[in-house]
Symmetry: C2
Subunit: 375 residues, 2 copies
Amino acid sequence: MNNEICRMLGCEFPLFAFSHCRDVVAEVSKAGGFGVLGGSSFTPETLEEELTWLDEHIDGKPYGVDILIPENMGDLASDVSIEELQSMVPGAQRRFTVDLLRTYGIEVPEDELVQAELPGIIGDVGEQLMDVAFRHPIKMIANALGIAPPSMISRAREHSVPVGALVGAKEHAIRQVNAGVDFLVAQGTEAAGHCGEVSTLVLVPEVIDAIKDIRPVPVLAAGGIMNGRQMAGCMAMGAQGAWTGTIWLATPEAETSEAIREKMVAASSRDTIRSTARTGKPSRQLHSAWHDAWHGPDSPGTLPMPMMSMLALPSFERIDRAVENGNEKAHDLVSYWVGQGVGLVGSVKSCRTIMHEFKEEFGDSVISMNDVLGI
Amino acid sequence: MNNEICRMLGCEFPLFAFSHCRDVVAEVSKAGGFGVLGGSSFTPETLEEELTWLDEHIDGKPYGVDILIPENMGDLASDVSIEELQSMVPGAQRRFTVDLLRTYGIEVPEDELVQAELPGIIGDVGEQLMDVAFRHPIKMIANALGIAPPSMISRAREHSVPVGALVGAKEHAIRQVNAGVDFLVAQGTEAAGHCGEVSTLVLVPEVIDAIKDIRPVPVLAAGGIMNGRQMAGCMAMGAQGAWTGTIWLATPEAETSEAIREKMVAASSRDTIRSTARTGKPSRQLHSAWHDAWHGPDSPGTLPMPMMSMLALPSFERIDRAVENGNEKAHDLVSYWVGQGVGLVGSVKSCRTIMHEFKEEFGDSVISMNDVLGI
């Protein structure tokens, strides 16, 4: 397609696929889209492996990396140790988790319930992930939460790599553009994961308008986009492309378990919840018994980032494993980050099929608009 | 335009303007759109006046009426009297309101604070409003909340008037289509007034998909739509037109006070709240000190419909009057039903200008889509 973001990032069809799974990234880029690997779930060593694999399998097509470097981690020292973080997960929340899992037939000792490795978003792990990323021929780097740190922008400049930033409010868009990013992803409240309160339909034109007299960088639309007609709709509003996540979770290539994919196919758009019960910040997830418990009357309250993740991550590993091992009760707890668009998932499809359908639907949509206008 | 909804309702440009103000309805219809008068704020007598005025001023163009007949009013008897309803507004909430208004310099005796007339949504007032509506050459009738009552559908059939229904979830869409409505308005969570939790971008394709094998009636998009590019975007997703409300509140023709229009121009999309503190059901409004108080730690809790409105309506009349009389403190309480699209209101414009801009932006949007595809 003939627009600025395609020229900037070297892709043919401005459909961006955010995924934690290298296979999704490779398939999307090879089909003319732009795969973005979510880097924060990796250690520097495993990210090195993933990017090496990508370089060998992506046929020279462009791809990017998304790293989550929170702007504000409260009072946490940057050199905080894993032991210190563990000690900040209070007994009440540990016991509540043990009891909750037990109710669903999952037995875990209290001391095995808290993450044993330093989360990727702490200290200089973000810088180490960037060290890795910039050793590879990435064509884009993005920060998923808060303002892109100055080091990301300066290092990206050195490597001539465009920088993107996800924003959930126009005020954030203005700050990001002033900080020097090359493009924005306006992500509506319907999106999976960390999201704000404003819908994609409102946020996209609001962001475009807010930055037009500062520096009119390309804006991608994110949140709820599951097909080519919606992508066309967002571009009709002025977005230069679509940034997607949830749709790729319902593919055989994705990292999701079968239980999650089944729940996704069965879900309607009302089966998500924007909750602090997974990372400590509001993030949109498949609504499950986990959230009912944490937001129920007996809850000790959710914890701030990163302590909530340190408790939730090992818990969800146990939940998924329990379901795989035939514990049907545990099915009620299964959850993952999905957007409201989950209501549009009718079946599990390959990445290649999804890419093909997006392009067809996009074309059909433009033709139908011409028809209605009699062009 | 050449589509089913334009043929069904006899309009040229499928932009629907919901308004409580007859001037807005007339201006929009005369400019090729379709004005819809919100009927539930009127008595049968005043609705008769409004529709007579419209018939004299709308130059024979089509218009419709929207009546709010809630499907479920809990345990309320249909022949409940105004005295009985008044007695159901507890002392705690009356005193809380008196104290809240007093804090902002507005003195009201407790016994003057509760609505003195039967609300339009109670008993057979809805039927009486329909009696009035069907005496006029209306081209459409809609029910704004819950399933369209059988009497609305049968009476509309007798008069050959198409029936529309607003839905906020695909399950409601299926029920409405099974009940016999002629078209749907899929209204996202970003909309003003009573709304669900699913965004317009997700709800529109979800509703279209959910009804396509039952009876594929036309679906209009509602919620957040403030300009012609967004309208084009929604139609690119498969909607047959756009149903709008908030944009018409920032016009000189509207019923809104100057204080509300000023607040609208200043607001961002994050300045709304979906709250029970105005009607008793969740409805989206301009966030003000009123909501902070009712959802704050000292609140006695909001009341169910219609009791909350019976307290809020007279309160907001006093608030608006106080502001008009120079009480600057009361400005903090000012609120009205607006959607998240309020963040896209840059200035107050006439209805005629808005209609003109919508059409221009719509055309520009389709052209830009062709450009990007190289058509």
